[in-house]
Each structure stands twice: as C-alpha cells, then as structure tokens.
Amino acid sequence: MLEQLLIFTRGGLILWTCKEIGNALKGSPIDTLIRSCLLEERSGEVSFNYGAYTLKWTFHNDLGLVFVAVYQKILQLLYVDDLLSIVKQSFSEMYDPKRMRYDDFDETFRQLRVEAEARAEEMKRTKQVAKPLNGVKKQGQVSKEETKKSNGEKKDDGDKVSVLSNGNHKMEDDVANGKENSADNNNNSVGVDVSKLAKLRSKGVRGRGGLRKADSLGSNKGSSKVVEPPKKATKKNRVWDDAAAAPKQEEEKLDFTDENGDNGHVDVVAAADQGESMMDKEEVFSSDSESEDDEPRSDEKPEAKKKGWFSSVFQSITGKANLERTDLEPALKALKERLMTKNVAEEIAEKLCESVEASLEGKKLASFTRISSTVQGAMEEALIRILTPRRSIDIMRDVHAAKEQRRPYVVVFVGVNGVGKSTNLAKVAYWLQQHKVSVMMAACDTFRSGAVEQLRTHARRLQIPIFEKGYEKDPAVVAKEAIQEATRNGSDVVLVDTAGRMQDNEPLMRALSKLINLNKPDLVLFVGEALVGNDAVDQLSKFNQKLSDLSTSGNTRLIDGILLTKFDTIDDKVGAALSMVYISGAPVMFVGCGQSYTDLKKLNVKAIVKTLLK
C-alpha cells in the first residue's frame, strides 16, 4: 500500500498530497530525499531507501514539478512507476502556476490509483497463468516488462482471454518468483551502490558489520602474530601472507636511527620561512570571455544528417520543442566522452549524465539556444552543485572551537601508498603555523622505513614538536599518547601521519579503523592523488565501507574531507576531484600543487568546472 504521494514544486511548495491515506510519515523522508539524492545529482537512480520506506520520484521539468511516492520497503509494489507517470500526465493538464490548491485532483487520483492497481493485478495474474503454459522463458520476459516503466501492454489482453479460461495453478510460487525478479532488477547492477553510502552515515554497526566483526576478531588474532614481530634484537621481515619468510641470517638491524641526533651535519634551517602559503593568496585566474565557439561543436557530430541539422537549427530559433530523451542522448554522450577524457571515472560520468537527463527531459527549449548548450548549462550547474561543499570547510574556526574546549584538534591523514601524505602533512603544518596555531606532529607511520626520519626532518625545519616512538609500534597507541602529550603541553593541533595502505588489505584497514575508533579524531582527511583514474571510486568507497563496518561506537566516523595532491602534474585532467567528491560526499579541503611548503591551496570550484567542460 502506498504510504503517501506528494506533488511539489522545485521551489519547495507542496501542491497536493493524497488525503485518503493520511498517514503521518516517520521522520522526514522527503527532505532527506531532496538533500541526499536530488541535490547530490543522483536523480538518475531508480529509488531511494529511507528507514522503512522506499521512495520513487519523477520530474516534470517543463513546469518544474516533482512527484514523489512513498511506500513500505518490504512491499514490492509494482505499479508505482506506472502510477507516477500517469499522475504526472493528468496533473500537468490541470496545473496552473497561479493555483495553489488542487482538491479536485483527489477524485482523479483515486480513479488513477484504482486503475493502476487493477492493471498491476492483471499483469501479475497473466504472468502466473502464463508460466505453466509458456515455460520459463516467457515468464522472464513478462517480468522484465513489468519492471520497466510501461503502461498496459495491449498484447497481454489477448493472452489473458485465452489463458484465463484454463484456470491458474501454483499462484504462490509465481508470486514469490515475480517478487524476486523485480527485487533483482531493482537493485543497481552497478558495482558500487552509491546509495548505500547514505545509509553508512546515518546508522551505526549493522548486523552485517557485526558478523564481519566476529570474523575479523577471530582472524585478527591469527594475523596479529604475523604482524607484530617478536621483540627480539633483530628485526624480522614483516610478512602479510603465507609467503615463505626470508632467511633470518640476512636480517640485520635495519633501523639506523641514532639515538642522539642524526649523522652528518645538522642543518638547522631556522623556521623555513618561504613566504605565504598559497592557501592565503588570491587565486588569479584568467577570465576569458565565455564565447561559445561554433567550431568545437561541429566536430562532435561530423555525420549529422543534413536534414537533421536543418531542423535542429530551425527548432533552436523557434525554441518550441520539448526535449526528449532521444534529443538529449547524443549531446549527453558527447559530454560523457569529454568528461572521461578529463579523467573522470566512468561510472561517475554515467551517473551524472543520467541525473542531468532526468532533470532536462520534457523541458522546453528556450529560443535561440541549441540543445547542446542547454545540456552544457545543466551539466555546469550540476557540477558546481556537487563540488560546492555541503558543510563549512573552515578549519581555523574548528581549531579555535577546540581550543576553547581546551583540547587539541586532531587530524588523521589516511590514504593508499605513495600519494603524498607526509609531504602534505608538512604543508598543512606550515600553513597552520603561519596562522599562529601551535602544531604537533605524530609519527604513526611505524611501518615504512624512513617515515619517522622524514617527519623528524620536517619538524626540525618548521620548528614544531614531533611525537615519535620509532618503528614497530602500534600506531593507535602512539596516536593516543601523542594526543595526551599535546593536551599536556598545550598544542592546538595534532597532525597524525599514518602508513599508506591498499583499500583491499584487510588487516591494515582493521588497524586503521582501530586507530580512528580509539582516538576519535576531529577530522579524517583522505589523501588522494589527482593522477588516479577509476581507482579513486574504489579506494574511497572501500575506505568508507571499512570504516563504517569496523566501527565500535554508535556514531560512525567516515571520511570527513579530501586532500587532493599532485595537482600540478595534471594539466587539465582534473576529473579525479569530481569522482572523489561525488562518491564520498566529502568536500575537498586542500589541494597540494607542488613539493615545497607553500604549495597548498583551496579548490576553486568555478575554475575546475570550466576546465572540465572545456
């Protein structure tokens, strides 16, 4: 049974709700739908789950209306899509921008609902009866048709007449089968279920996660023996799997750090003052006139038929055409190709194009505009919306707030191997120092050779204290002690460096979530390089997944922000920023654009969007 059906404008005014089923909805599903789905450019998806409800929606882009149906998740209502499209049609006929109340629509809606339910019943019945007669193949066909957005098929009537006369058997099996099929079809077949991330945020430990935790605890004991080497004088080779360990005789003391300072010259470079960090400089970007060149457009469709071109020009002048999916497809395909050449992950480009298509379908073309320019405009708006941060990225404000509460502000840098965590940690420390904030570094990368020395060198150059415990220590414990030390000596910020780890590496991800759970940092910063391609999607989603699965307390900490590194190496292939922001919902807080301390800047949303669509 439908819980609710709403019609509202894009400006937010509710025009009509179904009064027959006046159940109050638990929570605020509509607002959540708008905030986490429609405004996040996921409007191309099929449905949205919130609590016990499933929501489906459709747009009327020309009039600026949104139609949303809410029903219980456990019921697989098959007529909802059908009902939504019919409601859309009949409501748009009676819609008037001046009218605010549409009580006469109640009657129409009741009829439409009865009809839609009846149609769904018929289809179910024909499917059930068709099964014993026509075999499995037909059933698969019929159920596929059911789940598509289709109005009543004419040919079913013919079947129904002949089939009903035979009676029907095995109704329960078929009903179950039908429900199963539709459930399968409803799930996204895309590898990454983006909508699940919304769930990750709002809920704590799931049953699934609990199970996994039980497994992981068992295997943790097994692997910890391998991970933590015995406290002997010699360092054992760290093995992560069952590969044969290297012969022990060759292992000598690999840790060459001298207890009393470094070998060689100690260049105390007095607080490396290299000038202002680029975070504080005004971004001077050339604002060339937004001229829409005709030449690049014509390259897109070299094989356009003469007749097609002429009619499109005619339509662009008169501007009366309603945009159809077929019109939008070539423009969207070209746009998707262009985004992919700019290093946007393929799935993300696909989802974005679907979302833009959903928002443009049925809209009237303004006069003197081409379809391609309308699509471009819509895509530009969508990109700006995605890249605009959802919450404030004012770190200084957060630091001051933590200072008032007399506790240090803890930032943890996580990421895969070799993206530039340590380097960018030093850059962030430099920037904070310039703003008169006292910083402390914590060397929790106890695995990689030279990691602690690297941080020590940075600390010496910047003249900030560093907390280190050497190698082969538990990073979570080191971090905890570092935070205690910072509270004792009054540092404002603690920057925690962790070891790089691949997102698939189970024991390492477990160690990371242990660190985060134990220390409850204020900011979990994912460091990602701008050179990454499709792997960005996988990295971020797996990191988030593991963090949520393995979290112990009630509120799950996910990735709060992204630090994009090696930005100077990509000329205009800036798509990684878009993929990362889309998949995680976290804003880009810093951009690393070089290898010296001053090369840290903020993300300039408009410049990125311009580069992406150039």
């Binding site: 709403l6 509202f8 894009r10 400006g11 937010g12 005014l13 509710i14 025009l15 009509w16 709700t17 509509i30 607002d31 708008i34 905030r35 429609l38 405004l39 996040e40 600026g64 605010m100 109340r101 202002e276 975070m279 504080d280 400089k281 005004e282 700006i384 919306r385 995605i386 605009t388 941060p389 959802r390 919450r391 404030s392 004012d394 200084m396 404000r397 630091v399 001051h400 707030a401 310039q434 703003h435 008169k436």
Partner: protein
C-alpha cells in the same frame, strides 16, 4: 582714416552677408536643429536619473529549514498553503503584500526572492546579491543553538560580501517560528550571533591584512563585535511564518522600498 573706414565697410558687408545667409536657411531646419539639441540633452539627463532609481529586490536568505519559503508565501498570499519541503530552486515574485491589498493608492511592488538555504545551492545567493536593495536573514528561533554556528557563518559571509558592504544594503535578522513556546527571544539570538561572529572574525582575519576567505572584514579592531559596528544597518525582528505574524518584516521591507 581711410583704412579704418574701409575696414568698417568690410565688416559691415560681412555682417550683412552673414545675416542674409542665416535668413536664407528655411526656418524649420533651424528649429529642427535646436529641437534635436534640446532632445539629446533631455535624454541624457533622464538616463542618469533612471540609473539612480533604486531596485525593489528583497532577498529572503537563511539556513535550510528556517522557514523562508513559508514566509514567502505568507507575504504573497497570506497563507502557507499546504506546507513546504526543502527548496531546490529560488522562488521569485513581484507583488504587493497580501495585507496591503486592501489599501488604496499606488503601492510600489516588491520583487521578493526566496533563495534556497541548502549549502550546495549557496552560489545562487551570489547571483541575486548585486540587485538586492534589502536582505532578510531568517533564523530558526526554535532550533537555534544546534545551528548557531552555521547560521553565523552564513550571516558573516553575507555581511562581508563586497556588494553588501559597498552599497550598504540593510539586513534584517528575522527570528522565525516565534509562535512556539520554546523559541528563543530575539535579544538572545542577537547576542549569540554577535558572539559567534566575533569568534569568526578572530579566526578568519588572523593573519594577513588581505582576508582571503571574505572580501571585507567587519567590526572595529580591538572591540567585541556588535551589529552596530556594521556600516550597513542590521536590525532584529520576530516573525512566525506558520500563523502569519509577519508585520515586522513587512515594515522593514517598506522602509526601503
């Protein structure tokens, strides 16, 4: 002597010739030329006057969920109809207030724009700021404390915007949802906002004279921030969108339009 007389004769001849020439021009050409001159000067003056006429745009801004859309429809239609959801697009309208329909005489229309408050749609505000004559910043008086920081950051961004500072656009801090019992008073909200903005001021203008995040700084150095320090007028009012208590907002808007 003869030279002088000769010169006088020549001058007289020339002046006679000039007068004859002038008289030869048909009169309406002369009048047409003079008329054109007068017309162009009048047009230039009127253009200057037209540019000076003030715009009648008022922006309704504030965090998502503070009640802007409800307030918009209250001002326009006198009722909030069937409620609202999170806006995805701005609501615009040029109209006379619903309560002023009964008044006689020529009332100037107000171009009211309800800008969505969701943070992803923040750039929309920048589009409308250049043409704004007044800004109403709506704050949820019921759920004030959890959103205090976000609201103060938004207000700070508006108050330090270049357009607002240069044109001294007046701002009304409107505390909405005051019909509820547990809603905070406007004095409390004003004090809290001033405190939060003071903290923001300290953190954002910590280093350089060129404040990169915002166009300008507000307030006086060395003193705790107060709304009276702003160069544009900032006033506080109470309202309730749900029951239609919008008289203070209307008065504010009518002061400037």
């Amino acid at each position: 002597m003869e030279n002088l007389e000769g010169l006088k004769l020549m001058a007289e001849q020339w002046s006679n010739q000039g007068i004859e020439y002038l008289q030869k021009i048909p009169p309406f050409q002369l009048y047409a030329a003079i008329g054109l001159l007068l017309l162009t000067t009048v047009l230039l003056l009127s253009f200057r006057l037209v540019r000076r006429t003030k715009s009648n745009t008022v922006l309704l801004s504030g965090l998502s969920g503070s009640g802007k859309t409800v307030l918009f429809y209250q001002l326009r239609d006198g009722s909030s109809h069937q409620g609202s959801v999170t806006s995805m697009e701005p609501n615009e309208g040029t109209f006379v207030f619903h309560s002023e329909h009964a008044k006689k005489g020529k009332i100037k229309h107000v171009h009211l724009v309800d800008v969505p408050g969701h943070s992803r749609l923040r750039p929309k505000l920048e589009e409308f700021l250049p043409q704004a004559a007044a800004i109403v910043f709506v704050v949820d008086a019921l759920e004030f404390l959890p959103n205090c920081r976000a609201a103060s950051e938004y207000l700070y961004d508006i108050l330090t915007n270049a357009n607002v500072v240069k044109k001294k656009i007046p701002v009304l801090l409107c505390c909405n949802k005051t019909d509820k019992l547990t809603a905070h008073t406007k004095e409390f909200i004003k004090k809290q906002m001033e405190k939060e903005i003071e903290k923001l001021r300290a953190s954002r203008s910590a280093v350089s004279t060129a404040d990169i995040a915002n166009d300008y700084t507000i307030g006086i150095q060395g003193e705790v921030f107060s709304f009276s320090h702003c160069c544009n007028r900032v006033t506080v009012a109470e309202a309730s969108g749900l029951i239609g208590e919008t008289v203070q907002v209307q008065d504010f808007i009518r002061e400037y339009i």
